[in-house]
């Protein structure tokens, strides 16, 4: 372990106080004078053609300024996925189409003087629909007689399999070794089908955008986005408006979790402002967020694995079917990650086949959601590991230890399966998964409780475990940049494209710069995510910010350090090799003398050979070091009602060196609790016509403070040599383990194996009823 001054300290968030008092502004808190309010009309049908829209009456409605729909808005194909360019998601979306593809698809938009007037006018728009056959079952999507959801005009912008004629939004097919040999060598084959379900991100701030022209006639977009630079690029394309005339500002963002990696509203508001030359405001209601924004892609995983009696795995065959809903946003990359972030964990498997298909249906649209396919894949894999380890009578922990990837090892998957293209070879340099499992086992009392079926009344206790890895950014795709300059008092401006959506990235980037420059975080003035003012960054996704953007900040600060040394040498004629930065000064190790950074800055700015100490740096990575994590849960199953009561969940993570342990714990706990809630209560309930009937918090019932068990979190000691000060990522990984850990614990308690999420009491009860006796 290294000795750090700022890294590894639980520094308070630099924006903590103004957030706590509510003085920092989120998108809807900005007052934009004379703004029009936008309201959207949504399809009541799962699949229909729009024969005609009559907006005559609506146009006469008080306050209405304009009504937009397919008749007056240019249809430019694009994807709403806020990804790198060219986006790996198919171009299958236009602003307003003549066809609707799910209940909640947008049909028209009213711009009116007030929100109420806009909403009133919606009711007066007459739409003549020709109802088409819906497609709700992804298993039937590729059948020859299945209704076609998209036209052949849609296309993929990169060379990948995409066939709207088969409702096929993406396909991934990789194999190595000899599967038949692997099957022949197996003493035991386990073949099961797992289902993960729809979920809403539930960021407490709904998607929000405000647009207006500034004094220079440039379009300003204030948006609750995770991807400001992708917003600028996509809006420019969809609105056919020069990129140079667009400025995107990300203010404080009230959570994202992937939901705001989607560019859905910005182009609508921009279109209104550009055509009407007036400011526009578009804020989704909670119901709109549930119904019409983005979700976690439901996935069916057919997993087949073989083991020898010795416990050696002889083959793995994974067939993944991803329901992308009405549009193919993230359909390829989430699909890829169902394998790419999951299968390398078992790197010793020599015979492997991963087949993934993403299909269109007439249901809500999937998207980026924390975990991004790994959540879906690990649900299957961790249960399979539990089943297999029981069959060969090896403890789950030992079974995982026997098979998981280790330091100095690689996986063929890294190489053959990337995001939308081949992957990148990499050797794992840090992996402390054993330590993670051992800590959790001890925290939860694994040895004392596993398989003991401790019974009290109708309740039977069980413990279960799950493990996961993720990545740290997308190798050779993600890029982040930073620029810095010094001020007279020895403070620094740090401008980054990196996008703090509540994660605390502004704080940890300040810590990284402060570590290099020997200053406290309050001497680093962070400006993030303003496309006019900060350098580029792909944005907050793919667990990339700490590793990629942090790498850029470190490089940038190192350049600044050398310039500071240059000035110190000019001032003092010191030898560079004796210089260090500490305590806001340049110090001469040999003589013990020091020059305050403020003196350095004043000398450089005003005194001699004047220049601005400033630098910029960019960072990409040829690898994506995986963080590792284990979650162990303890629960009771009520055999009378089927209700699962969580007792405790212990999670340990190897995220390399934690830049800020408090923020790391916050990321892990938030992800774990979201995962627990996803496993037990969250779900989309549809009517037979595909209408979401629980699109409100009161019916969706995500966990609140009264629902959560005791939560224990631990950061294991680790150091990733390729990361900034040893750091890897941490944002997503914690959501991958709760659901399979719960499934494994339910089995441990009552011998019931649940393959389909969520584990509601009715499902558990029904499964219990099927058991004649508790035969486990």
């Amino acid at each position: 372990m290294k000795n750090f001054s700022r890294i590894g300290k639980g520094e308070k968030k630099i924006d903590g106080l103004p957030l706590a008092t509510g003085s920092l502004k989120f998108t809807d808190d900005f007052v934009v004078k004379d703004s029009l309010y936008l309201a959207l009309l949504y399809s009541p049908h799962a699949h229909a053609e729009i024969l005609d829209i009559d907006d005559t009456e609506a146009r006469k409605s008080p306050g209405v300024v304009e009504i937009f729909h397919y008749k007056n808005v240019k249809p430019i194909l694009h994807t709403t996925a806020g990804q790198g360019f060219p986006e790996p998601s198919p171009y299958d979306t236009v602003l307003f189409d003549k066809k609707v593809r799910f209940v909640g698809d947008k049909v028209a938009m009213v711009a009116a003087k007030t929100k109420k007037e806009a909403e009133e006018a919606l009711k007066k728009i007459k739409v003549d629909y020709k109802i088409l056959e819906p497609l709700f079952d992804p298993e039937n999507a590729m059948a020859p007689d299945a209704p076609k959801i998209h036209s052949l005009d849609c296309y993929a912008t990169i060379p990948v399999t995409y066939d709207p004629n088969k409702n096929l939004a993406a396909e991934v097919d990789i194999a190595f070794g000899d599967l038949e040999k692997g099957i022949a060598e197996a003493d035991i084959v386990v073949d099961e089908i797992y289902h993960t379900h729809y979920a809403s991100h539930c960021a407490i701030e709904p998607h929000s955008v405000k647009t207006f022209f500034d004094e220079m006639g440039r379009l300003v977009i204030i948006s609750s986005t995770q991807v400001p630079f992708h917003v600028r690029r996509i809006v420019s394309r969809v609105c056919d408006f020069p990129l140079a005339k667009i400025r995107v500002i990300k203010p404080r963002v009230g959570g994202g979790f992937g939901a705001k990696q989607e560019v859905m509203l910005e182009q609508l508001a921009a279109w209104a402002t550009i055509t009407l030359k007036q400011p526009a405001t578009l804020i989704l209601s909670r119901e709109e967020v549930f119904r019409s924004s983005r979700t976690r892609h439901p996935v069916r995983t057919h997993l087949k694995m073989g083991v020898k009696n010795s416990g050696d795995i002889t083959f793995l065959e994974m067939d993944t079917l991803l329901n992308t809903g009405a549009y193919g946003t993230h359909a390829l990359t989430v699909l890829s990650n169902c394998g790419a972030k999951v299968l390398p964990l078992l790197n010793k498997i020599e015979n492997l086949h991963f087949l993934g298909r993403s299909v269109y249906t007439t249901l809500p649209v999937g998207g980026a959601y924390r975990g991004y396919g790994a959540t879906q894949g690990y649900f299957a894999l961790n249960q399979h590991l539990d089943i297999l380890s029981r069959k060969v009578e090896i403890d789950f922990i030992d079974f995982v230890k026997k098979h998981h990837i280790r330091e100095g090892e690689t996986s063929k998957i890294f190489e053959v399966l990337g995001e939308g293209k081949e992957g990148v070879k990499q050797v794992v340099k840090s992996c402390k998964l054993d330590e993670c499992m051992d800590w959790c086992a001890s925290a939860i009392g694994w040895q004392e409780k596993r398989g003991k079926h401790i019974t009290h009344g109708d309740k039977i206790r069980g413990v279960g475990a799950a493990v996961a890895m993720q990545g740290s950014g997308i190798p050779l795709i993600d890029m982040g940049a930073a620029s810095m300059k010094i001020n007279e008092d020895g403070s620094f401006n740090l401008d980054v494209g990196a996008t703090d959506i509540g994660t605390g990235s502004d704080t940890i980037l300040a810590q990284i710069a402060g570590e290099v420059l020997g200053v406290r975080s309050d001497k680093i003035i962070v400006l993030s995510s303003d496309t006019d003012r900060t350098p580029f960054d792909v944005g907050a996704y793919a667990s990339s910010t700490t590793y990629i953007s942090g790498g850029a900040v470190k490089k940038c600060a190192e350049k600044i350090r050398e310039q500071i040394f240059d000035v110190a040498i000019t001032m003092k004629k010191w030898d560079r090799k004796n210089l260090v930065l500490a305590d806001e000064s340049v110090k001469n190790k040999k003589t013990g003398e020091g020059v305050p950074l403020s003196d350095i800055a004043i000398f450089a700015l005003y005194t001699q050979e004047q220049f601005q100490i400033q630098a910029s740096a960019s960072h990409t990575s040829p690898e994506s070091p995986p963080p590792f994590l284990a979650t162990f849960v303890e629960l009771d199953v009520d055999t009378r009602t089927g209700k699962v009561d969580l007792i405790q969940a212990a999670t340990a993570v190897d995220c390399g060196q934690a830049i800020n342990p408090i923020l790391v714990e916050g990321q892990v706990e938030g992800a774990v609790v979201n995962g627990l809630s996803y496993a037990l209560v969250e779900n989309f309930v549809f009517s037979s016509q595909g209408n979401l009937i629980n699109g409100h918090f009161k019916d969706y019932k995500l966990f609140t403070s009264v629902d959560i068990p005791q939560i224990k979190t631990h950061i294991v000691k680790s150091y990733e040599e390729t990361g900034p000060f040893g750091a890897k990522s941490v944002a997503e990984i914690g959501i991958n383990t709760p659901a399979p850990a719960i499934a494994n614990a339910i089995y441990d308690a009552v011998g019931v194996r649940l393959y389909t999420l969520p584990f509601t009491p009715d499902k558990v009860y029904t499964a219990l009823k099927r058991l004649k006796t508790y035969d486990y």
Partner: protein, 156 residues
């Protein structure tokens, strides 16, 4: 209709429709934007304010109910000794992530400690059950209540 009430310690006469939401009055007329709208259905607590000392969801309160009431928003509470203690406790515990729900939690914690100056764990969980937070997983918010209880001993 004309409604007399107190807002953050000042007497106000509101001239508003009786059905207008307190949330809209606060955000639109007074620019008190620490009061957030997360759902508009009384489920998330992001718009919590104190009405006669009790935490309520401003999205569920029509103007007609405000006559003679004393309303305190996070803006009116933040400089008070109790406000500062709660805010500092939330920050120190790491309970502020995106911060969208935080001002509402400040109101809920004030209401909780007002009722239970030394809350049990159950009191804390119950007292915060009207506020949703998707970022933290609640642990750090629980911890912040304990910190506030300790550092603000005697204030409640």
């Amino acid at each position: 209709m004309k409604i007399e009430c107190t807002l953050n310690g000042q007497r106000k006469t509101l001239d508003v429709s009786s059905t207008r939401r307190l949330l809209d009055i606060l955000r639109e007329d007074f620019h008190l934007t620490a009061v957030k709208e997360g759902c508009g259905e009384g489920e998330c607590g992001a718009c919590m304010v104190l009405m006669d000392g009790k935490a309520v969801n401003a999205c569920l309160i029509p103007a007609g109910n405000l006559m003679g009431k004393e309303i305190v928003t996070p803006e009116g509470f933040k400089e008070s000794p109790r406000g500062k203690i709660i805010e500092e406790a939330l920050i120190e515990a790491g309970a502020v992530q995106c911060g969208f729900c935080t001002p509402g939690f400040v109101m809920a914690i004030e209401s909780l400690l007002n009722e239970h100056p030394h809350p049990t764990e159950e009191n804390i969980r119950e007292g915060l059950s009207g506020n949703l937070c998707r970022c933290t997983g609640y642990q750090m918010i629980f911890k912040s209540v304990r910190l506030a209880e300790e550092k603000g001993a005697g204030l409640w």
